[in-house]
């Protein structure tokens, strides 16, 4: 049924327009990043010089290091907190389950500004002040609901009889976890980790509140840079972040289905 009437054509045209809107800044960044003459569009050639400059900048490299460590540790912690909780929620039905689920999702419901401010004030209050720990805590707590969501979904697909079988032949709970449960939900774990990592890697609001001096994550470093100049080196850095996000998107989508993961 390929009836092409005016309504469908208008709908298609409008969708195209919106897609152009969504892709516009991303495309512009990538084009500026490989264009030899700064900002002169349309592009007049191809160069990786800006990427070289971006990837040899000490500030950016340090920011990248910080973001990398932060992303890996926060994603690991978030999954470590979310996995047992997800297992308890999937395997049991009890009164107040909905409430606990809502509580576990609460970091997503609080505006990021207020969540970050609250953590900042709290760490000052308990006498810790600013440091790496608040930054790490902020990232971990904020991405944990996403981990919980993916892991819950993949645990739903796990047939409990596998685990029962393992326990029947004498495997302990730890043994069962490592030789049955984790391998079976492997794809869920990988995509949960990838999503947590990319959310932490790209985060700006939490980092800008909580990052201590000397531990500036890459997005905050990029923000500080483009506040004063937005040359093609910044484009190359932004371009690198876009490419990395694209890779993560493909991985998450292949393993868990991106849409299910992002649904708010």
């Amino acid at each position: 049924m390929t009836r092409l009437d005016l309504g469908t054509i208008a709908l298609r045209f409008f969708t195209l327009l919106m897609m152009a809107f969504l892709i516009f800044p991303i495309a512009v960044t990538l084009i500026v990043a490989v264009n030899p003459r700064e900002f002169i569009l349309p592009p007049n050639g191809f160069t990786l010089d800006w990427f070289k400059a971006a990837w040899s900048s000490k500030t950016f490299l340090r920011g990248m290091g910080v973001s990398l460590v932060l992303g890996i540790v926060a994603a690991t912690l978030a999954n470590a907190l979310a996995l047992p909780a997800a297992m308890a929620l999937v395997r049991n039905d009890f009164r107040g389950k909905g409430a606990i689920n809502l509580l576990l999702m609460s970091p997503l419901l609080i505006p990021t500004t207020i969540f970050s401010l609250a953590l900042y004030i709290w760490f000052v209050r308990v006498g810790y002040g600013s440091g790496l720990v608040p930054l790490l805590v902020g990232h971990t707590i904020h991405i944990m609901p996403y981990a919980l969501r993916i892991l819950t979904a993949s645990l739903h697909n796990l047939d409990p009889s596998y685990e029962e079988a393992a326990q029947n032949v004498g495997a302990g709970r730890i043994r069962t976890l490592f030789s049955i449960t984790l391998p079976v939900i492997r794809t869920g774990l990988i995509s949960s980790f990838a999503l947590c990592f990319i959310l932490s890697w790209n985060d700006f609001p939490i980092s800008v509140f909580l990052a201590p001096p000397g531990w500036t994550p890459l997005p905050v470093e990029l923000f500080a840079y483009i506040k004063f100049q937005y040359d093609a080196v910044a484009a190359a850095l932004a371009g690198s972040l876009i490419l990395l996000s694209a890779v993560a998107m493909v991985v998450i989508d292949r393993l868990a289905g991106l849409r299910r993961v992002l649904r708010s």
Binding site: L41, A88, I114, I141, P205, L262
Partner: protein, 286 residues
């Protein structure tokens, strides 16, 4: 039951208690404190921080009311832009659908600062947008987007629209296509079929989208920080500035409490409105 459930749930719940619940309560407490000389927080029980904001017409008009208006406008534009897209996507399949979905979700995963870089290139005085608009004869001299409210709204729509598309798709995919067919068969025009069948069924998705996107816009601080100017003092931005630049934690806390309260009030109003709309639809059907 408790003995079996508590060990796996405890780490996450304790983490949330220590790092979300208690800090939020501490924000409430801090909002009654004072700022002493040398920007130290002094324990107190005063409403000064609230009075400073709520008693000042400048703050009320240029910050609170301004944030509400911007959030409403940006949310409305997001919905208007996203609705047709969702209607189109739900009919696509295969590769076309995958590409469209990837484009919709890309802005959600790519960091805000990264996206803002591209927007700066587009917005700049003689930038791409102005060149394009002038070439299309929409207007004949450059318009200001960067450091301007127009840029802020465009960016908020850019961030909000994908959320709206995703929520609407959830509703649209649940819609039985035979309902539309049936309406068309009994003589409804395309337009009538949309208003009488499709639109009411997307109410839950629309409501979810409004809640998310309005809250996101109302509390926005990164966007006005990066491309706004002195006339775009949204409440989230003021919180950021008072907390981090002026180190006035009590005032920033009071602003946070006000922001959450106003946001909650608006969401309650929205819930009542939508509850009534959905109820009315049910009544009408009977």
């Amino acid at each position: 039951m408790i003995r079996r459930l508590l060990p796996p749930l405890a780490p996450a719940l304790i983490a949330l208690l220590i790092f979300v619940a208690l800090p939020m309560l501490w924000v409430l407490r801090t909002s009654f404190n004072e700022l002493g000389d040398g920007a130290y927080v002094v324990e107190a029980m005063t409403l000064d921080n609230y009075i400073r904001f709520l008693g000042d017409p400048w703050y009320l008009v240029n910050t609170l009311w301004f944030s509400i208006r911007i959030a409403v406008v940006a949310t409305a534009i997001s919905v208007i832009c996203a609705y047709p897209v969702a209607l189109y996507i739900v009919k696509t399949t295969g590769l076309q659908r995958n590409i469209l979905m990837a484009l919709i979700m890309a802005p959600l995963l790519i960091g805000l600062v990264t996206l803002v870089y591209g927007w700066i290139v587009i917005f700049r005085g003689g930038g791409l947008l102005n060149s394009l608009m002038i070439a299309l004869h929409v207007y004949d001299r450059p318009v200001r987007y960067m450091w301007d409210i127009k840029g802020v709204v465009i960016l908020l729509v850019y961030i909000g629209a994908p959320y709206v598309v995703l929520s609407l798709l959830d509703s649209l995919e649940r819609l039985n296509p035979f309902l539309v067919e049936a309406a068309r068969n009994v003589g409804a025009s395309r337009w009538t079929a949309f208003w009488k069948v499709v639109f009411p069924m997307t109410m839950p998705g629309l409501y979810a989208a409004l809640v998310i996107v309005f809250s996101l816009n109302f509390s926005a601080f990164a966007v006005p920080l990066m491309i706004g100017n002195s006339n775009t003092q949204m409440i989230g931005l003021i919180i950021y500035r008072e907390a981090l630049l002026n180190n006035d934690l009590p005032f920033a806390s009071a602003l946070s409490v006000i922001m959450v309260a106003v946001n909650a009030l608006i969401l309650v109003g929205m819930a009542a409105l939508f509850g009534r709309i959905i109820l009315n639809r049910l009544e009408a059907k009977r």
